[in-house]
Amino acid sequence: MPRITPTGVTRMSEARKTYVRPLDLKHGCVDMAHGAGGRAMAQLISDLFARHLGNAYLAQGDDGAVLPASGAGRLVMATDAHVVSPLFFPGGDIGCLAVHGTINDVAVMGARPLYLAAAFILEEGLPLADLDRIVRSMATAARTAGVPVVTGDTKVVERGKADGVFITTTGVGVLADGVSWSGSNARPGDAILLSGTLGDHGMAIMAERESLGFASPIVSDTAALHGLVASMQACGATIRVVRDPTRGGLATTLNEIARQSAVGMLLEEKTLPVKPAVNAACELLGLDPLYVANEGKLVAICAENDAERLLTAMRAHPLAADAAIIGRVFEDPHHFVQMTTAFGGRRMVDWLSGEQLPRIC
């Protein structure tokens, strides 16, 4: 296969290999960047969690783990902790978010989500009315998705030791034979598709926190994506990777995939869907929609020849009416994600560094 690079030429690189400073386990402390979804978090996961807990399933490094099941088929298992503040926001609340987030982590592995478990950490003093509203919203979300919460746990901590309520959900699903989607499958030439507008969830939270007071509020896109995933599977396209770009946004998700698959990517800024209100709020706060969280969007990488077919299938689903082909996968020893700007220049779309947003999911 001919070498494909964004510039069309191949030459030896002079870019320096990033030296990653080891975690300072003696004097270092957890800081907010370790939870922001960017490079610092990736390092914490690989150098601390995976180092101690490492096994073949964890090493898959995707949103969920594919597990052998006795009898036929394979299981997918995923877990997600939710600490969003405020607990209620336009378009949703921590309850439905906790259901959607974990369903999506199972779904983007190509699996059909079956069951959820939920663990609650409640802060002393949380109004029961709030808790009731949150759990009812969870129930509605689970019922609509057809994925019941089958077990759970509750702990209460003293006032000041948590922020209202934290919810951790774990999901289990089954994987059909022959499906193996993973962040390590992208290949040069593949097309990159995005299911809809960028940054709706993160900006809904930010606008709420900063009381930006837009005439019509920005609404979170929180949604369960397994239905969309099923219709993508049904169209028969050769899908290699699906991810939901949550914390850290699309930029961080694509960088993760580029690293896992050892490839580069080139995006077209003109093709990126962003709602005008989200764009305006980002301008105001100096944020880049590429790094803002989504909770009801997915990015898919598929074989080049199947891109149009997959796009048509996605657009036919109500959750992906704004789907677009946003770029291509290239060969690149540096695993850079680059973008042709709307002006025709070229820039990197790097990992999120530090913390772009406060607690959003």
Binding site: P6, S13, E14, A15, R16, K17, T18, Y19, R21, H27, C29, V30, D31, M32, A33, G38, R39, A40, Q43, E210, K270, P276, A277, N279, A280, E283, L285, D288, H334, F336, Q338, T340, T341, A342, F343, G344, G345, R346, R347, M348, D350, S353, G354
Partner: protein, 374 residues
């Protein structure tokens, strides 16, 4: 928002770029410095350098508030929080600026210091009112744009007779910094840093107007074009600079006339003058100590001056030995020339201040331009 999109028109950008290509004399190079980090960011984020002809080069300037903050100033804020047990509020970008002893405000916070980020100094004042039992300090940084809001909160604090609010004032001024660059030996020798003109600040100029740049343009014979932060503004300003150079002019021109006039915002200037006075000396990162280049709080408002209220004298601290931030801020070196760029010094672990904010030259190159080193 329609307003933004008007300034993001790709085809118009191509047209202006083509105009620059036609008008630039191919027989000579053009070197322009964009003073502001906002312009640096726009150039990097939108890939504007790719649109310019090879002989038109942009040099990043020092106009990024956190970049020019010397270590000793961040140390003061950290000492306030750790030793004086006060709550320090500041803008987000300040949190990661490297300070002495491997600390930054963020790392000090992880060690227990009460340090918080705010989007405006008014928030800091409101929070001080909510916590009357706690001493609260606003760590104020920035050029002329952020100065009037700080003046407002100091006046409000005085009117409210707050006894738990003060300001660590590190506000700096643009024109002396431009003069500082033009006086640096590397620019004066005319070779190390060839400079044919400046893109002047956008937001700063809405406050101070275009007049303060006139003596600089005249004395140093360098054209200045004040430009907005939108990518089209930057391209248009470059075209205007090329024309001035071609015609042998060294004038102050205003591309950003939708927001800037010659006199600026008189009301804001009066407010600033009421609350602040010139510091005799102020140390800048990269530009050393410059006279009359920064502001202090007037003695009338001394009780709201954190340097007056708490024993936190300024102590100058040399930069990390490998750090080239000083040279980068004066345009002497490019980020890639720093030995530790992208290896030891990355946005996650900034060693120098230019790697902290997205307006800093090193961070901008690391985040948006690293593919060019390939």
């Amino acid at each position: 928002m329609k307003y933004i999109d008007e300034f993001r028109d790709g085809s118009l950008a191509q047209k202006i770029a083509a105009g620059i290509g036609r008008e630039a004399d191919h027989g000579r190079p053009y070197h322009f410095m964009e003073f502001c980090g906002g312009h640096t960011h726009a150039i990097s984020r939108y890939g504007l350098a790719d649109l310019l002809p090879d002989n038109v080069r942009m040099i990043h300037g020092p106009g990024c508030p956190v970049c020019v903050l010397p270590i000793g100033r961040v140390d003061q804020a950290i000492r306030l929080a750790l030793e004086q047990d006060v709550t320090v509020y500041t803008y987000g970008d300040c949190l990661r600026v490297p300070a002495s002893g491997g600390l930054s405000l963020l790392k000090a916070r992880a060690r227990g210091a009460d340090i918080r980020m705010v989007y405006s100094c008014a928030d800091a004042l409101a929070l001080a009112q909510q916590r009357p039992d706690r001493q609260v300090v606003f760590f104020a940084i920035g050029f002329e744009t952020t100065t009037p809001p700080t003046a407002v909160v100091i006046r409000q604090a005085a009117a409210l007779r707050l006894t738990n609010f003060s300001v660590l004032c590190c506000h700096v001024l643009t024109p002396p910094a431009i003069a500082g660059i033009l006086d640096s030996p590397e620019v004066r020798d005319g070779q190390t840093v060839p400079l044919d003109g400046f893109i002047g600040p956008a937001h700063v100029s809405t406050i101070i107007g275009s007049r303060p740049y006139e003596p600089l343009a005249e004395k140093y014979r360098k054209p200045v074009v004040i430009a907005g932060f939108e990518p089209l503004d930057v391209l248009q300003a470059i075209r205007m600079l090329v024309r001035q150079v071609n015609e042998g002019r060294a004038e102050v021109e205003n591309e950003f006339s939708r927001a800037v006039d010659r006199d600026g915002n008189r009301k804001a200037q009066a407010l600033v003058a009421e609350v602040f006075a010139l510091r005799d000396h102020f140390e800048w990162r990269g530009l050393n100590v410059l006279a009359d280049s920064a502001l202090r709080i007037r003695s009338r408002f001394a009780e709201f001056d954190a340097e007056n209220r708490f024993p936190v004298d300024y102590v100058a601290v040399p930069d990390h030995p490998a750090c080239e931030c000083g040279d980068i801020l004066r345009g002497v070196k490019q980020p890639q020339a720093c030995r530790i760029f992208g290896t030891v010094c990355t946005p996650e672990n900034p060693v120098g201040s230019c790697m902290v904010s997205s307006e800093g030259a090193c961070a901008a190159h690391y985040t948006y331009g690293r593919h060019k080193d390939v």
